[in-house]
């Protein structure tokens, strides 16, 4: 292996070993996040309850992905696969919702002159 390591010296790097302290800190942050999301759900924030719950879940996901799944230390190729996966998920959710959630809109557009009227009805 010595020859190979020499040939690819520029590319070669040892797998990153994450310190135990980092894992413990991520673990504590995840536990605090779980407590926080549970606590927040008992407070009436209106529509912000959903946003808060999803925001905390996304933060927890990022902690797991970056540290437990070592993506912080991964190569660009692996990261592109992950970003592509979430991009496709975004396409699926956005396009599905743009159909399903607009079916009850009963406004019939009648040319550009009514655009202002439509905008007023929507917002």
């Amino acid at each position: 292996m010595a020859e190979h390591a020499g040939e690819h010296a520029a590319d070669y790097h040892e797998p990153h070993i994450v310190p135990v302290g980092t894992y413990v800190m991520v673990f504590v942050a995840l536990m605090v996040g779980t407590a926080l999301t549970t606590w927040v759900s008992y407070i009436d924030l209106g529509e912000w309850n959903t946003i808060a719950a999803l925001a905390i879940a996304v933060c927890k996901m990022l902690l797991v992905v970056l540290f437990f799944m070592h993506v912080k230390y991964a190569t660009g190729l692996t990261r592109i696969i992950i970003i592509a996966a979430f991009f496709w998920l975004g396409i699926m959710i956005t396009l599905t919702c743009s159909d399903e959630l607009t079916r009850h809109w009963e406004i019939v557009p009648q040319g550009w002159t009514s655009a202002v009227h439509i905008a007023r009805q929507l917002f």
Partner: protein, 220 residues
């Protein structure tokens, strides 16, 4: 290669370097996880659509679930992710196989605890109280039809998640056997790392299921 037979353990000769093999393994696993993201994503998308169509019913359905068991199970899974990460770290740093096996068994115990809590305190109770559509549904008169839809989402999503947990326990069993047979060293522990990615992924799915099913129905 002076000596073609002097491969390090676990190093397949189609790869140039150990590092290249490791990267290829990670890439392949992430491509599989991308399909898993879209697999669960389909259900999350359907959930989003039906939630917006039947919001009051979904809130009513969400109130049938018990937050303390959902929260406990979230904590149990986060603990199991930590023990899994520490199992892999033990292999990376060349700890004894006894240490690696102990972390793996602890991960399995936590995974089994998750399923046990789900079965005993949630699904069994749901069965007794008649909250399982098509199997044991007793509350038809008091609930709007959308509640049945919510419970269907609840059982399909948590059921498929639990199925992934069971598969994970099988994978962990294989890892324990491989560790006991001295298959891993600080130079080769790819199966541990790849399986770890799967285990953490299943944890992430639950991180989203917990608030979506138990919490955002408004508990105040």
């Amino acid at each position: 290669m002076a000596a073609t037979h002097a491969h390090p353990p676990g190093f397949a000769h189609q790869f140039e370097t150990v590092e290249q093999q490791r990267e290829a393994g990670h890439l392949g696993m992430w491509i599989f996880l991308a399909t898993e993201i879209l697999f669960f994503g389909g259900m999350f998308t359907a959930y989003t659509v039906y939630r917006s169509l039947h919001l009051p019913a979904f809130i009513q359905g969400s109130h049938e679930l018990i937050v303390k068991f959902g929260a406990t199970n979230t904590a149990v899974l986060i603990c199991s992710s930590l023990t899994m990460a520490l199992a892999i770290r033990s292999a990376q740093t060349g700890k004894s196989k006894r240490t690696i096996i102990l972390w793996l068994l602890l991960t399995m115990a936590l995974g089994a605890a998750f399923i046990a809590i789900k079965l005993r305190y949630e699904w069994y109770r749901d069965f007794v109280e008649g909250l399982i559509p098509g199997v044991s549904w007793l509350s038809g008169g008091t609930h709007t039809p959308g509640v049945k839809m919510f419970m269907c989402f609840y059982f399909f999503m948590t059921g498929l998640h639990a199925l992934h947990m069971v598969v994970g326990l099988g994978i962990l069993t294989v890892l324990v056997i491989m560790t006991a047979r001295d298959r891993f060293s600080p130079g080769y522990y790819a199966p541990l790392e790849i399986s770890g990615l799967y285990w953490h992924f299943v944890d992430i799915v639950w991180i989203f299921l917990f608030p979506l099913l138990y919490l955002i129905g408004g508990r105040y």
